[in-house]
Amino acid sequence: ADPAVVYDQAGKFDKSFNEGVYNGVKQYTAETGIQVREFEPKNEAQVEQGLRRLAKRGYSPIVTVGFNMTSAVEKVAKDFPEVSFTLIDGEIDLPNVQSVIFKEHEGSFIVGALAAMASKTDTVGFIGGMDIPLVRKFGCGYEQGVKFATPNATVLQNMTGSTGAAFNDPTKGSELAKSQFSKGADVVFAAAGGTGIGVYQAAKDEGKFAIGVDSNQNHIQPGTMLTSMVKRVDQAAYNTYKNAPAGTWQPGLVVLGLAEDGVDWARDEYNASLITEEMKASVADIRAKIISGEIQVHDYMSDNTCNY
């Protein structure tokens, strides 16, 4: 059967995890020459409609992106037990669904620690997109990382807004960043989709550091992007496509954290000069401790609080 993917309403170029999935799709197509059927719904109703239609036409596996699709996937997966679904960022307990979720808090912890180490002012910032639990999860992990590295550091947190536009408002992003800089922050982490573009630009303009999110965004502003918290949704998609024909695709819950390389921090030529050996060493140490469980990173979504 042919593989397919259904993005969520932000679209495959959301500068965020949809785009990550899209990268995985591209990689698979480049390697195998097999086209992946893509669908971008524009509202809730189209999600189920599109899924149903793909399933009916025999596409499998179908990768679905984002927690918003949970209920639609659940319904369609029940009706089409022979089709394999991979749901990214959501959980469904069905024999033909693989649920992939990420430990964003662990990755955020790492970049938080990095931010604290790079900061000269001991003040760092976090800028979230829309104020929803998932975004708070990033912020909470980040804060823990910062405090771990510099216990008396200040973490400034801002959310962009309350509508979907909050993931697409670079102007507001840049103003939020400037406001944080004026309060002394010298590193900001943006978990805000397209809004981040404005944050990175503001950092560049003021000579401060910014941290990217989801995919490796270091190239966007070389020299001022300290790193990016990457979430390997591309791998999740890629693996599904790779494994399904081979028969190694498994339903069930897949949780990807630091240990599984599901989340990580990005190093490349664009930020090589910004990361000292010392930082590298201590991050490696923290990373190991998280994997070993010596450091417990609190997950905001486990109890909707950031008490760690």
């Binding site: 524009k42 809730e44 409609q49």
Partner: protein, 365 residues
């Protein structure tokens, strides 16, 4: 000086058809420009919207939302009020529906929940329209600004409530828990199937019937009651309204309350009919589209149904088109919708004068 008349079919059918044709022609050029076949695209669009049961179901499902918001805009408009706040009123209306369902679905049967949900949608939507209405009527604050502001405020309020209070624990998505099935509006395919009528599975639900009832209600209210008479007087000539002893402030406020209530019914369709849980952004721009629907439908229920169907068809046919031809992105479909609004809405007179002139000259000669 006899009044020569233009045949009715010219105004009702010929001119609208020409306008839509022109919109499609320009869209065709766009599709050609990106290297696809416009005829094939048009085929998918029409087939997707009307070609099979399920497609028709989706078209009508979208139309349901647009009928509600179109009626909402038109009732206010009939009173000379421009309600841009349909989006926010729909959002809050959905909150009303959601709260009723969440609080009663464990204890009450459907036939108790449904009427309460209808009331909840209307009351919450109306409440959200009340403040702008009051400010307009008593303080002269411009209703266009206040309703725009209230859209923003509604968004923030809903995020705050859902994320902090109503979200189900342990769920990724910021949604409330799913309602029990006795708080779901039945789908039309479920209702019709025992009657031996099979229509494809689609989100089309009982709210559609309610939308049609609302059309009848609005038609009767606006054109056949004394309140409607007062409303229309106020909308066309406020000085005459005062002369006639009409309490203009009261009519203004009631017009907005009814408008807001109608917009609130979007929540019925979306929350109780389709999503079965309270979630963010379910209004998806239907409130704004309602403005175009109302104006293209000449603020008349029949016109609104037709315009809502046209837009519903574009949503659904557009989705089909984007699905079948992946290079035609959803954004291109948005452009096509814009072109339809432009040519059959804003440029509706482009052919009209010439064609009517032609028929009048023929009639006179």
């Amino acid at each position: 000086m006899s009044q020569a008349k233009v045949p009715a079919w010219v105004n009702m059918a010929l001119i609208p058809m020409l306008n839509i044709l022109l919109a499609f022609l320009v869209s065709g050029l766009l599709i050609l420009a990106i290297g696809e076949n416009p005829v094939e695209a048009a085929g998918y669009l029409i087939y997707g919207a009307f070609g099979y049961d399920e497609g028709v179901g989706y078209t009508l499902y979208y139309a349901t939302n647009l009928i509600f918001t179109g009626l909402a805009v038109s009732v206010a408009f009939k009173g000379g009020l421009f309600n841009i706040g349909g989006e926010g009123q729909a959002y809050i209306g959905g909150l009303g529906v959601g709260l009723i369902c969440l609080s009663l679905d464990h204890t009450m049967p459907f036939y108790v929940i449904a009427p309460l949900a209808i009331i909840g949608a209307a009351v919450f939507g109306a409440a959200w329209a009340y403040i702008p209405a009051y400010l307009q009527a008593r303080r002269g604050s411009h209703i266009v600004i206040t309703t725009i502001m209230f859209n923003f405020i509604a968004s923030s309020l809903m995020v705050y409530l859902i994320v902090n209070w109503l979200k189900e624990d342990g769920r990724m998505a910021p949604n409330s828990r799913t309602f029990e099935e006795n708080a779901w509006l039945p789908y039309l395919h479920e209702i019709l199937s025992p009657l031996g009528i099979e229509i494809g599975d689609s989100p089309l639900n009982l709210a559609f019937i309610w939308a049609l009832l609302c059309c009848v209600f609005v038609w009767g209210l606006v054109w056949h009651t004394r309140w409607g008479y007062q409303l229309r007087t106020l909308g066309t000539n406020p000085t005459a309204a005062r002369y006639a002893g009409i309490d203009t402030a009261k009519v203004t406020i009631w017009a907005m309350l009814i408008s807001g209530g109608l917009a609130g019914f979007v929540g019925l369709n979306e929350i109780m009919g389709v999503n079965h849980s309270l979630l963010l952004n379910f209004t998806a721009g239907y409130g704004f589209a309602g403005i175009a629907v109302a104006l293209m439908g000449r603020n008349h229920p029949i016109g609104i149904i037709l315009a809502a169907m046209l837009f519903g068809a574009l949503y659904q046919g557009g989705a089909e088109l984007a699905f079948e031809i992946p290079t035609i992105t959803p954004e291109i479909v948005v452009v096509i919708q814009g072109l339809v609004i432009l040519f059959s809405g804003a440029l509706e007179h482009m052919f009209k004068d010439r064609i009517e002139g032609f028929f009048i000259r023929r009639a006179v000669a």
